[in-house]
C-alpha cells in the first residue's frame, strides 16, 4: 500500500505484510478528526491537503501496525485556559507508559512548514521522528530559516526560484525556527517519538482515534502556555470502549499571541 501526497512524495509502510484492520482505508482516515485539526492549523489549500493526507496516513499506518489482538480505546483531550476558554493549536502527544503492547514506529512521513506574509504557517507543527519537512517559501520575499535547537540545528536559505531539499527531523525534541532576515518570524516544530499525536482544534479538543488499551502519558504543549512543563502531563489509563477524557485546565494566563502584522505594501526586505 502506497500513498502519494500532492507534492509527489511516496509514503510506504515499512512492512508491506502488515494486515489492515477491517474498514480502514485512506479515504475514511482522511476524514478523521485529527487530520482536520492539523489541516486547520496548517491553513492554505496545498498545505492543508498535504498535511491532512500525511497525518491521516500516518495515523492509519499506526493503527494498522497495532497488534490486531490488542483491545482498543480512545483518548479525548480538551485544553482550557485559566478562564475556561478553549485553547486551539496545542500539541498533544500520547506516549505509552506501561501495559501497552509494543507499537511499531510508522514510516517516515512528510509535512510542510510554509512561509507566508513573513510568518511560519503553521506556527506550530508536530511531527513524528524521521519526518521530512518541506519549507516551500510561498512568500514574496526571501527567507533564511535557521534553528539552533539541539534537536535539529540547521540553516536553510530560501531564495526565490531555488529548490530546497526538505529537512529531516530525526531527533525528538522542540525545534524553534527563526528567520535571519525577519527577526519577528518564529515557528515551532515539535518532533515526537510518541506514536499518537495531534493538535487541538478550535474547540480546544483532540481525539486520538483508536489506541491500544493501557497506560499513557498525555502531554500538551504550546508556545502560548506559560504553565510549568511538569504540570502539563497527565498519566491516564485507557480502557476499551468509550473515550477516556483528559481535561487540562491551565493555571497560568496564556502568553500574548503574536498576531502577524502583514504590512500594507510591505517594503521591508
Amino acid at each position: 500500500m502506497t500513498a502519494v501526497t500532492r507534492r509527489g512524495a511516496r509514503v510506504t509502510p515499512l512492512d508491506a505484510g502488515v494486515r489492515m484492520l477491517p474498514g480502514m482505508s485512506p479515504p475514511r482516515l482522511r476524514a478523521r478528526p485529527s487530520s482536520s485539526l492539523a489541516a486547520r492549523a496548517a491553513g492554505g489549500q496545498r498545505t492543508r491537503a498535504t498535511v491532512a493526507v500525511t497525518v491521516a496516513f500516518t495515523t492509519g499506518l499506526l493503527l494498522m501496525l497495532l497488534a490486531p489482538a490488542a483491545r482498543a480505546g480512545e483518548v479525548a483531550v480538551s485544553v482550557l485556559d485559566r478562564g475556561g476558554h478553549a485553547v486551539e493549536a496545542v500539541v498533544v502527544t500520547l506516549a505509552p507508559a506501561h501495559g501497552v503492547p509494543a507499537i511499531r514506529r510508522a514510516a517516515p512521513a512528510t509535512a510542510i512548514m510554509d512561509q507566508r506574509d513573513r510568518a511560519f504557517v503553521p506556527r506550530v507543527l508536530v511531527v513524528g521522528v524521521g519526518t521530512s519537512v518541506d519549507f516551500p517559501n510561498n512568500d514574496s520575499v526571501s527567507h533564511q530559516v535557521y534553528s539552533f535547537s539541539a534537536a535539529k540545528p540547521f540553516q536553510l536559505p530560501l531564495y526565490k526560484g531555488t529548490r530546497h531539499p526538505p529537512v529531516v527531523f530525526d531527533r525528538e525534541g522542540l525545534v524553534v525556527l527563526g528567520c535571519n532576515i525577519h527577526d519577528q518570524m518564529t515557528g515551532y516544530i515539535v518532533v515526537t517519538g510518541a506514536p499518537f499525536f495531534g493538535m487541538t482544534d478550535a474547540a480546544g479538543g483532540y481525539r486520538s482515534g483508536t489506541v491500544p488499551e493501557g497506560d499513557y502519558d498525555v502531554t500538551v504543549w504550546s508556545p502560548l502556555i506559560a504553565d510549568a512543563a511538569t504540570t502539563l502531563t497527565r498519566h491516564v489509563h485507557v480502557a476499551a470502549g468509550g473515550p477516556t477524557d483528559v481535561r487540562v485546565r491551565l493555571a497560568q494566563a496564556l502568553r500574548a499571541r503574536p498576531e502577524p502584522r502583514p504590512r500594507r505594501g510591505d517594503w521591508e526586505y
Binding site: 526571501s142 539552533f148 540553516q155 527563526g178 527577526d183 519577528q184 500574548a256 502584522r261 505594501g265 517594503w267
Partner: protein, 406 residues
C-alpha cells in the same frame, strides 16, 4: 569633489548594471520611488533656501515640487553578506543632482546560539529613528519626520563600522529580543552646525553623502581631527508589538579643529524612543533627545559657543485597510550657554503635524500632510525677521513605488 561625483556615477552604474548581470537566484532586491508634491506654504524663506524658515518649503518655493526620487538596493553576495545602497534625488539646487545617501556592507551570520551578531561597514543611519522604517530610510507614518529625526537625517550618518549583538528570546520561550549596538566612525565632525544656525526644523530633506544643505551649502561629512566618534545603544523588542531604543551618541570632535572650510563641532546626545503597537490598527511612538554641541574657543575668538538642546515628540497613527491617519506633536528647544556673537540661539518651538496616506494598489500612494510650526528663534533677526515665526505647510503627494527582485 570630482572624485565624489565619480564615486556616485560608479555606484549608479553598478545599480543599473547589476540587474542585467544577475538575472536569477534572487540576489538583487531593488526598491524605487518617485514622489511628486503640490505644496502650499505660508512661511518666510526656508533655511534650505538660504532663509531661516523651519520647514522645507516656503511662500517662494511651493506649487509643484519633486518630493524625492530614490533607489534603494540590496545585493546579496552570499548567505550572510550583502551590499546596500541608497541613491537620492531631491530636485533642488544641491550640487549633485543625484547622490548616495547610504552605502554599506552588511554581515549577518546565522545564529548558532540565541546570540546573533550583525556588523555593518560603510555609510548608514544610526538606529535612532522609529519613524523612518521604510526602504531608503523613508518615513512610513507621514511625509515629514519629527524635528528629532529631521535633524538626524540632516546632519548624521555613520561613516564607519557598527556591530550589534542581539539576544533572540524566542528560542528561550520569550517573545522578544534585546540588542546591544555600538559603532565607531569618523567624517561626521561638523554635525551640530545646522542646529546652531537654524535650530530644529521639520523637513523631509536629509543630506546626501556628497551634497550639502542650505545656501551657501553646509556639508557634514568631514573629518577635522582624526578622532573617532562613537555611539552605543540598547534596544528591546517584544514581538512586533513594542520596541524601546536608547542610544548615546558622541562624535568626540575636537571643537577647535578645522579642516579646510569644515569645523569640528563636539556634539553628543542621548536619545530614547518607544514604539507601541497595542492593536493591529494603532501605532504610538514617543521619542526624546537631549544633548549639547560645542565649538571653539579659537585663538583670539573669546569663549566657545556652547548650546544645549532637547526635543520630544509623540505620534499616534491609525491604519485602516489601505488608509493611514497620523497625528504628531513636536516640542523642541535649544539654549545657548556661551559664545554670544549675536542674538542667542535660544529656540522655543512646537509643531503639529497631521497626515493621511492612502495606498492605491501596490504601486501608488496618495498622501496629504499639514504642518504648523510655532517657532521662537532670536537669530532670525539676522534675516531681518522677528524672533517669532509661525509657519504652515500643506503638501499633497503622489507617490509611485516599484520593487524589483532578481
Amino acid at each position: 569633489m570630482r572624485s565624489a561625483a565619480r564615486f556616485v556615477l560608479l555606484a549608479l552604474t553598478a545599480l543599473v548594471a547589476v540587474p542585467a548581470v544577475v538575472v536569477a537566484d534572487d540576489r538583487l532586491d531593488l526598491t524605487g520611488s518617485l514622489d511628486l508634491r503640490f505644496v502650499h506654504a505660508t512661511g518666510a524663506l526656508s533655511w534650505l533656501e538660504g532663509g531661516s524658515g523651519a520647514l522645507r518649503f516656503d511662500r517662494e518655493h511651493e506649487d509643484l515640487r519633486l518630493g524625492r526620487a530614490f533607489l534603494a538596493g540590496r545585493l546579496r553576495l552570499d548567505d550572510t553578506l550583502s551590499l546596500h545602497a541608497v541613491v537620492d534625488a531631491y530636485g533642488d539646487h544641491d550640487r549633485n543632482p543625484v547622490d548616495l545617501s547610504e552605502f554599506w556592507l552588511e554581515y549577518r551570520p546565522f545564529p548558532l546560539s540565541p546570540l546573533r551578531w550583525r556588523a555593518r561597514l560603510g555609510a548608514f543611519y544610526a538606529p535612532i529613528s522609529l519613524e523612518n522604517r521604510g526602504p531608503g530610510w523613508s518615513d512610513v507614518y507621514s511625509i515629514t519626520p519629527s524635528a528629532i529625526n529631521t535633524w538626524i537625517g540632516e546632519e548624521f550618518r555613520t561613516l564607519g563600522a557598527e556591530i550589534e549583538a542581539r539576544w533572540l528570546g524566542s528560542a528561550r520561550g520569550y517573545g522578544g529580543d534585546i540588542a546591544l549596538v555600538a559603532a565607531a566612525y569618523g567624517w561626521n565632525d561638523p554635525a551640530g552646525v545646522l542646529l546652531s544656525d537654524r535650530g530644529f526644523g521639520l523637513t523631509d530633506r536629509p543630506s546626501t553623502l556628497f551634497g550639502g544643505l542650505g545656501r551657501p551649502p553646509l556639508t557634514f561629512y568631514h573629518d577635522t581631527d582624526h578622532r573617532a566618534g562613537y555611539y552605543a545603544g540598547l534596544s528591546w523588542r517584544r514581538y512586533d508589538r513594542a520596541e524601546v531604543r536608547a542610544l548615546h551618541y558622541d562624535n568626540r570632535a575636537d571643537p577647535t579643529s578645522v579642516a579646510g572650510s569644515a569645523f569640528g563641532w563636539m556634539t553628543r546626545f542621548d536619545s530614547v524612543g518607544v514604539r507601541l503597537e497595542p492593536t493591529s490598527h494603532l501605532t504610538l511612538i514617543a521619542q526624546n533627545i537631549d544633548g549639547e554641541t560645542v565649538i571653539g574657543p579659537f585663538p583670539g575668538g573669546g569663549e566657545p559657543f556652547r548650546m544645549t538642546f532637547r526635543a520630544t515628540f509623540g505620534l499616534a497613527s491609525l491604519e485602516y485597510g489601505a488608509t493611514r491617519f497620523t497625528a504628531r506633536y513636536d516640542d523642541f528647544h535649544t539654549h545657548q550657554l556661551s559664545g554670544f556673537y549675536g542674538p542667542p540661539a535660544d529656540q522655543v518651538g512646537h509643531a503639529w503635524t497631521t497626515a493621511v496616506q492612502h495606498d492605491v494598489g501596490d504601486a501608488w500612494q496618495i498622501a496629504a500632510e499639514w504642518i504648523r510650526v510655532t517657532n521662537h528663534f532670536p537669530p532670525r533677526a539676522n534675516y531681518g525677521l522677528p524672533a517669532d515665526g509661525p509657519e504652515s505647510q500643506l503638501q499633497l503627494a503622489l507617490r509611485y513605488r516599484f520593487r524589483l527582485q532578481r
